[in-house]
Amino acid sequence: MNSRYLPLVITAFVLALLLGAGGFFFTNFISFRVIINLFGDNAFVGVTAVGMTFVIISGGIDLSVASVIAFTTIFIAQTVNNGMHPLVSMALVLILGLLFGAIQGWFISYFNLPPFLVTLAGMFFARGVGFIINDISVAIKHPFYSETIRGLAIPVAQVGRAVVRIPFTAQCLIFFILGGTLLAAYSRFGRNVYAIGSNETSARLMGVPVDQIKIWVYALSGFCATAAGCVVTFYMQSGNSSSFVGLEMDAIAAAVIGGTLLTGGVGWVAGTLMGVLILGSIQSLITFQGSLNNWWAKIFIGTLLFLFISVQQLLNRRLKGR
């Protein structure tokens, strides 16, 4: 096996270990319902992390995603309650997210500014604009939300009398993961992103339109973040401009656990999915256990991050040493 894929294998192993431990200690942990909920409840983190993976592979970082999600939820809530159809509102906000990301990308590539700072500014900006729209939590009242979205859930199994359904949020996550994987592995855009992340100068010399690709990468991240915001409205049925502070770090952590190198050039969307599921299953394990406190989750995630990063570091040294 190519040792390049070792981080991915380790991630899969840890995920299996976590789920196995859950199944060993708690009955019902490995049930259809829990696994599906794992997908459904973490869908928005996953969708955000897909965009983040591309940004990190290109050698950048996007701190604005959490604020963009919050902005999206409040935008949809406010416009829908003022009579706009949810689909129109979502289409609008997706375009806005794409544009917002593209503008950040333009600043980063045209002026050669550090992505950390530009997206930090973007983070404050999106948060502020969200607050200007409305600074309280707004419930969304529309039949589209209360009926149509629920109806989109796909029934997959019959457990006793209850029907287990795959909620629309989980479907969105699967769609984005598949799309992201295809885009990363089988498109010219994906190959260009990897090239820029490995070595920007040589990519430029080989004729990769670096500036253009960078703008698209951040646009994609903005798009994914707004899509994640839409997903959030599906199961929260409300918008709140002060929510999800710090989510960008979860998305980054998910990507890193999934084997994406923050130095750029290496990463897999499938790994990111596993990273999201690992973060999610730690949360569900702690919920199942009941008496463990939330801070153990933080410490555990930190330890996991440390383990993954050390392994990657050692692998990198070995590869370079050859």
Partner: protein, 353 residues
């Protein structure tokens, strides 16, 4: 008398500004922005400059205490200012430290828990908290300098786990304390607020330690070209390690200030998002994120600028929820001023004129 004082203040300020420009000091840009903000307030927020001298006491000694909006700015900016001093050095070696907010929480939790549950003397509590910060810094330094992990990932670990550790120390409780010495760190006045004095002392000591000795030069060398510095016989590893330790130490001081100020250790909220403010102050101060030259005083002025901006918005009744937008615009403007393309454009305009 009053008017004469105001005129003297502005003349001195103008002369200082002019001097920094003449000597091509980097601090000119953040100072100019700060001055513009103050001039704006001079005309549009009359209550902004009202200062008041009150009688107060500092552990029984009668001392004068200054009150007023400018003093508030100094007081509130000092947390970020203290962080910015450590962060400047970290950024100068080409690094970044995302964990300072979490380290603040650990230090605060340490101080409060030791004081309340073990009833140790304040000096021990403070030393233990500073020690915790140093250990946290050593951890970061180990990851970055010894293991060679990129700083943003390396410090992300402690950023995530550190808050958990702080909650572990406090057992998830908000620990309230009222020891007079511990509460005085963030609340007492010696004419000006003690946090501001702490920041000033830290700044001066750090400046002396880096600029009078060769340490500052070595830090800049490592940030500028690590390989070349290493080849020249400087242990870039130990420089990097020390810088992260120092940053952890500064974060611990900032944590003590904030914990003491609110008289309780709230592991969830102490230092929350302050790492971003600290990084922002450093960048506004003119230290580039790619490393190399650093400007300590300028970073602190950056912290003052951010706080002055926030306070001005409150004074002008701008809703606090809108406050992030101007902050974003300031970051962007500063970034643009540092960009090669904009500089070249401005330079060509100047040459043409």
């Amino acid at each position: 008398m009053r008017i004469a004082g105001i005129i003297v203040f502005w003349l001195v300020a103008l002369a200082f500004l002019y001097w920094t420009r003449r000597s091509r000091n980097v601090v000119f840009w953040p100072l100019l922005a700060l001055a513009c903000l103050l001039v704006f307030n001079l005309f549009f927020t009359p209550q902004f400059f009202r200062l008041e001298l009150r009688e107060g006491s500092f552990f029984g000694l009668p001392v004068a205490q200054l009150y007023g909006v400018p003093i508030d700015v100094l007081n509130h900016a000092s947390k970020v200012g203290i962080l910015a001093v450590g962060m400047t050095l970290v950024i100068a070696v080409g690094g970044i430290d995302l964990s300072v907010g979490a380290v603040m929480a650990i230090a605060g939790a340490m101080m409060a828990t030791l004081s309340v549950q073990l009833e140790l003397s304040p000096a021990v509590c403070i030393l233990a908290a500073l020690g915790a910060g140093i250990i946290a810094g050593m951890w970061n330094g180990f990851l970055v300098a010894v293991m060679g992990i990129p700083p943003m990932v390396a410090t992300l670990i402690l950023m995530v786990a550190g808050r958990g550790v702080a909650q572990l120390i406090t057992d998830g409780q908000i620990i309230i304390f009222n020891n007079p010495i511990l509460t005085s760190i963030g609340n007492a006045f010696l004419l000006v607020p003690v946090p501001f004095l702490l920041m000033l002392v830290l700044l001066i000591v750090t400046w002396l330690a880096t600029r009078v000795t060769a340490v500052g030069f070595l830090i800049e060398a490592v940030g500028d070209n690590e390989v070349a510095t290493h080849r020249a016989g400087v242990s870039s590893q130990s420089i990097k390690f020390l810088v992260y330790v120092f940053c952890g130490f500064c974060a611990a001081i900032a944590g003590l200030v904030q914990t003491s100020n609110i008289r309780s250790a709230d592991a969830n909220n102490i230092g929350l998002r302050l790492e971003l403010d600290a990084i922002m102050s450093v960048v506004i101060g003119g230290t580039a994120m790619t490393g190399g030259r650093f400007y300590l005083a300028s970073s602190v002025v950056g912290a003052l600028l951010i706080q002055a901006l926030t306070t001005t918005m409150y004074a002008k009744d701008v809703s606090p929820v809108v406050a992030p937008v101007p902050k974003a615009l300031v970051i962007l403007a500063v970034c643009l001023l540092q960009s090669e393309r904009v500089r070249r454009f401005l330079a060509s305009r100047r040459d043409a004129a």
